[in-house]
């Protein structure tokens, strides 16, 4: 599955010719490397960390994987608010475990980005300084416990639509991380949906909470797939590189088609008067999200953008002394070990 052109060459040294003597392809010119890369992609084979890759491919991947990792970490906040208030011990355990899974997803993804030469601390700084983005969806508030269920159903559902095709992404470490993440996301989606089923069988007040939450999250969830295809400048290149496998609009359509029957079973109404089955297309027609709102939220003007970044910044800054202490202790330990060996 892999090519091993630039084994031993630090990833940042691309696209210069690899120098390690004896490595296969050491004599190849940049053109030959590019051809080999293109052929690997064309054969649907995977690119691995030590393979030569164009700068654009590397940078696109770092940007995408970092955004994805940031989304997992920032995404802990809206639901994390409810762990201490979950209304039963079983719901508390489910939610606590889910939010913990998201921290784990963030960890695998930062590790995948590190295989491309990125550094977790640097990516975290970029997030805190607003130089890298995360999913717009996490800038919406979670005023009721029903939001925990609806986030599981919609947001994890949309994430699955987005991420299942990424299990076949051309970059190996990303694709492998996505396999595990998708499995866990599918549990989360079922857990969210199961909470909503339970609430819909409860009191009238609970049913109202669920419908209200569905009304608030439906459109932002459709926006999770990004701008429409004709306004998504990076999509075509990512698809050519097989980093991305389906267009934003195609994935959005899949999500709608998947969700409508689930809404029916649950007994809630999706807040879109234009939503109906189109016999001819064999798919649902639906209304247009408010793209101006998406733009506002992405550029920092959503309901909770400042609060989300502020929390992350505070955690990072408050934890600095802990990380410094761990580093100092590790250095002292290895120094002691070295002296012990020398003595």
């Amino acid at each position: 599955m892999t090519t091993t052109h630039s084994a031993g060459v630090p990833p940042r040294d691309v696209p210069g010719a690899p120098e390690s003597p004896g490595a296969p392809g050491a004599q190849e010119t940049p053109d030959a490397l590019q051809e080999h890369f293109d052929a690997t992609i064309a054969r649907d084979q995977r690119i691995e960390p030590r393979d030569w890759m164009p700068d654009g491919y590397r940078n696109t991947l770092i940007r995408q994987i970092a955004q994805h990792a940031h989304s997992e970490i920032i995404g802990m906040q809206p639901e994390g608010e409810w762990i201490t208030r979950a209304p039963s011990l079983r719901r508390k355990a489910i939610l606590f475990a889910k939010v913990q899974d998201e921290a784990g997803h963030g960890l695998y993804l930062y590790s995948a980005a590190e295989t491309l030469g990125a550094d977790r601390a640097d990516l975290t700084r970029r997030l805190i300084e607003g130089r890298q983005k995360y999913s717009s969806i996490f800038n919406y508030p979670t005023p009721t416990f029903a939001d925990v269920g609806v986030i599981g159903w919609f947001v994890d559902g949309a994430a699955i639509c987005n991420q299942v095709p990424l299990c076949r992404s051309s970059y190996g470490p990303y694709a492998r991380a996505m396999v595990r993440i998708c499995k866990e996301e599918s549990f989360h989606q079922r857990q969210g949906y199961e909470l909503l089923l339970t609430m819909m069988r409860g009191t009238a007040e609970q049913r109202e909470m669920v419908q209200d939450s569905v009304n608030r999250w439906w459109w932002p969830s459709l926006m999770m797939f990004g701008p429409p295809d004709d306004a998504s400048p990076n999509s075509a290149r990512s698809m050519a590189w097989k980093i991305k496998r389906h267009s934003n609009d195609e994935l959005r359509q899949r999500f709608v088609d998947m969700t409508v029957p689930q809404a029916g079973k649950l007994g809630v109404t999706l807040p879109d008067p234009d939503l109906r089955w189109n016999e001819e297309r064999g798919r649902h027609d639906f209304g247009t999200p408010d793209w101006a709102e998406l733009k506002r939220v992405i550029t920092g003007d959503g309901p909770c953008n400042d609060q989300r970044i502020e929390r992350r910044r505070t955690a990072h800054e408050d934890g600095a002394w802990v990380r410094e202490a761990a580093t100092a202790h590790a250095a002292r330990r290895s120094e002691r070990a070295r002296k012990g060996t020398a003595a």
Binding site: R85, Q100, F187, W321
Partner: protein
């Protein structure tokens, strides 16, 4: 993996609930265990013991949950949640046992959500506010060492359910103690600031030691752990300064009531609801 397969599988029914996230199964946690109380076991005493141990675990889990999205590093985010989930699991098993032996047949949530601070029997150390990471580590070290020593004894309890819960808990608590001890050494032997914070945390925790040993005298075991860890960390052993009162008698600090208000807020706002 085919895309279509994954999408379809989301809409299907699932019977394999065991694969859901750890500790979140839908089964009765004591399913399959003989729950008959053996002759000679005082059910009042057994219920009281289980409530106290469950309250310690629930209140500790609540304090650990407060670290979510605030931990100094992602690895600590994961580890603290793990420990919180273990303790929450212990609390659920213990409350379920109380409901079986106190004659009320109540479920776990009745004890967690519908009792007031005066009825809680947790030790006060568990309810103190979060503080910094050093405080959380010192508290975790003390509470996990104490609970571990206690659970090792309870594994031989005549009640088979409590004995089984304790035996399961021993494995979990051994990890909690290990995690706390490793961080205590790192922070004690880290920077000047981390050392200073650890000293302060030990002083803050010391007044709450005494009451730990009234119910179960494992003082020597806990002292031995603390001695070993503080020595490796280059920290002084905390000076024992007893404080009057005890959480086990329902005497709490002013911090427990607000913790419970938050924990119980949704459940009490909608008492008729099902979750």
């Amino acid at each position: 993996m085919s895309d279509e397969h994954v999408y379809l599988s989301l809409a299907e029914g699932h019977e394999d609930d065991a694969r859901w996230a750890y500790g979140t199964g839908f089964e009765d946690p004591l399913h399959g265990v003989d729950t008959t109380v053996p002759e000679g076991v005082d059910t009042g005493q057994l219920a009281a013991e289980c409530v106290a141990l469950a309250d310690d675990a629930l209140v500790s889990a609540q304090r650990l949950a407060e670290w979510t999205t605030r931990a100094p590093e992602l690895e600590e985010e994961v580890a603290l949640a793990n420990i919180g989930l273990d303790l929450l699991g212990q609390a659920r098993l213990l409350y379920s046992r109380v409901g079986q032996v106190d004659g009320t047949g109540r479920g776990e949530d009745a004890y967690a959500y519908f009792r007031d601070a005066d009825d809680f029997r947790n030790v006060r150390l568990a309810e103190l506010p979060g503080g910094d990471f050093a405080f959380s580590i010192v508290r975790l070290l003390v509470l996990s060492s104490w609970r571990l020593a206690h659970f090792e004894r309870l594994a031989d309890h005549p009640d088979p359910v409590l004995a089984a819960i304790a035996a399961k808990g021993v494995k979990e608590l051994t990890y909690h103690r290990q995690y706390a001890a490793e961080w205590a050494v790192r922070l004690g032997d880290g920077t000047e600031e981390s050392h200073r914070r650890m000293r302060r945390a030990l002083e803050q925790v010391a007044p709450y030691f005494g009451e730990l040993f009234t119910a179960c005298d494992v003082r020597d075991e806990v002292a031995a752990v603390l001695r070993q860890v503080t020595e490796a960390a280059g920290l002084p052993m905390p000076v024992y300064r007893p404080l009057p009162g005890a959480g086990r008698s329902g005497e709490h600090t002013e911090h427990l009531a607000p913790l419970l208000t938050e924990l119980q807020s949704v459940a009490r706002a909608l008492p008729e609801a099902t979750w």
